[in-house]
Amino acid sequence: MAAQNIQSVPTAVEPSRASRLPRALVALTIATALALAVGLYMALVYAGMESTQGNVQRIFYIHMPSFFGAFLAFSATVVGGGMYLRTRQTKWDVLALAGVEVGLMLSLVNLATGSIWARPIWNTWWTWDPRLTSAAIMGLTYMAYLMLRAGIENPEQRRRFASVYGILAISTVIMTLIIIRIRPDTIHPAPIGGSPQDAQGDFNLTPSMVTALLTNLPIWGLLVPITLMWWRIRLENLRERVDSLKIRLMEK
């Protein structure tokens, strides 16, 4: 887990600490960038064109994996929140916050790509499909998380409340995952395990499409969220350090 790489706040004044980059992070970042290029190649070139939808179907190789990336990031928020409440170590709350920001970005990717795909296929940018609605509310929940954080000045209370809300908020993610199974009136195709009866824009995956999906799944579902969260954690650590310096300055 990326949380192990969080440095403790140093007591001495040493501005150079921030510029020291862990080699693992540099390697991970390069690997992620390369993997994204490979994933793009698989999606745009390797996978065969879907005959009824045309090229726009290729957006699916980003659309679905990005949801799982968001799911991973929001799960990190639950772990971070739970561990913060247990141990009261700031690093766990930092992990939770990083999870929310990265997860929010990935769920926006998920929503945007879905909406753009829906325009030519469903003939509309937006429809009140249950899963679409649920995914949008999921995004709003995590925006509410950020608003909650912004509304509390005491850092200890902010971390505590944010941890509680971060744990509760996962219910909207789970809801989005299972809603196509319990609301049969969705028109959302389910690529795994059979679509609902009235799914529209469904397609059958050929072997090359499956390969493209399986390469993109760990890229957008694992590499991208982990790399971005790590960077986000570094940013938050710097903020903590600057804040503690400011407090020291005020105490003088």
Partner: protein, 225 residues
């Protein structure tokens, strides 16, 4: 010595009841809001009978959830203003008893408003809403709102934004409760066969149990000093 758990819960619920009997502040504002809300809906949605059957469940639940938010905000603000919350925390009672006590009070108030709405809506929308299953759905749904609401209102009342933050935090979390409730009530009102909607009632019960366990576990963390 700690006061026994159930005694403490009942004492807190009774305290809220007595305060309410004296001031009638909560029930009157929630009731007034609910009344206005269903009137506005009936004007805004000029509906024929078929469409009415479809939307009346939604109207009921939207009204109940907003009335419950209104009540939660009011009840927590009163605790905060009179600093009776601090007194409660200092008293030798279990934190969990405080949660169940506040939950009990909020639940009873919201349910009262919801139950009063049923005959009124039957009248205004010309659909018979007095039905045992609908009452069960109302009870379970209201319970779900009260569970999440009690935890979140205890949090938001301690923040800067206070009242405005509660609906923002609570509506998405209460979404599973709302979804199951609306679907179950629509099925009941359409007089659909039991098999079509009974699963929703079961889902609603399951969601309530999960939220109750989760919010009970988390409540201790939002009232630390």
């Amino acid at each position: 010595m700690k006061t026994p758990f159930f005694k403490a819960v009942i004492a807190i619920v009774r305290k809220d009841m007595q305060a309410e009997l004296r001031s009638r502040e909560l029930l009157s504002s929630m009731g007034m809001f609910a009344l206005l809300s269903i009137l506005i809906f009936s004007f805004a949605l000029q509906l024929d009978i078929v469409a009415r059957q479809e939307v009346v469940g939604g109207v009921l639940w939207v009204t109940v959830v907003f009335a419950s938010i209104l009540g939660l905000n009011r009840s927590m603000a009163t605790e905060r203003e009179g600093s009776s919350f601090d007194a409660l925390l200092l008293a030798p009672v279990d934190r969990a008893a405080v949660f169940f006590g506040k939950l009990g009070g909020n639940f009873i108030f919201t349910l009262t408003v919801g139950v009063l709405l049923l005959p009124l809506m039957s009248l205004l929308y010309n659909i018979v809403l007095l039905n045992g299953y609908l009452l069960a759905t109302l009870t379970l749904g209201t319970l779900g709102f009260s569970i999440t609401g009690t935890l979140l209102a205890t949090m938001t009342v301690q923040t800067r934004a206070r009242e405005s933050l509660l609906p923002i935090l609570m509506l998405p979390i209460a979404l599973p409760v709302l979804l199951a409730s609306v679907n179950a009530s629509s099925g009941i009102l359409r007089a659909a066969p039991l098999g079509d909607w009974f699963a929703w009632l079961q889902i609603l019960g399951a969601v309530d149990v999960i939220y109750l366990a989760l919010c009970y576990l988390l409540f201790g963390y939002v009232i630390e000093e």
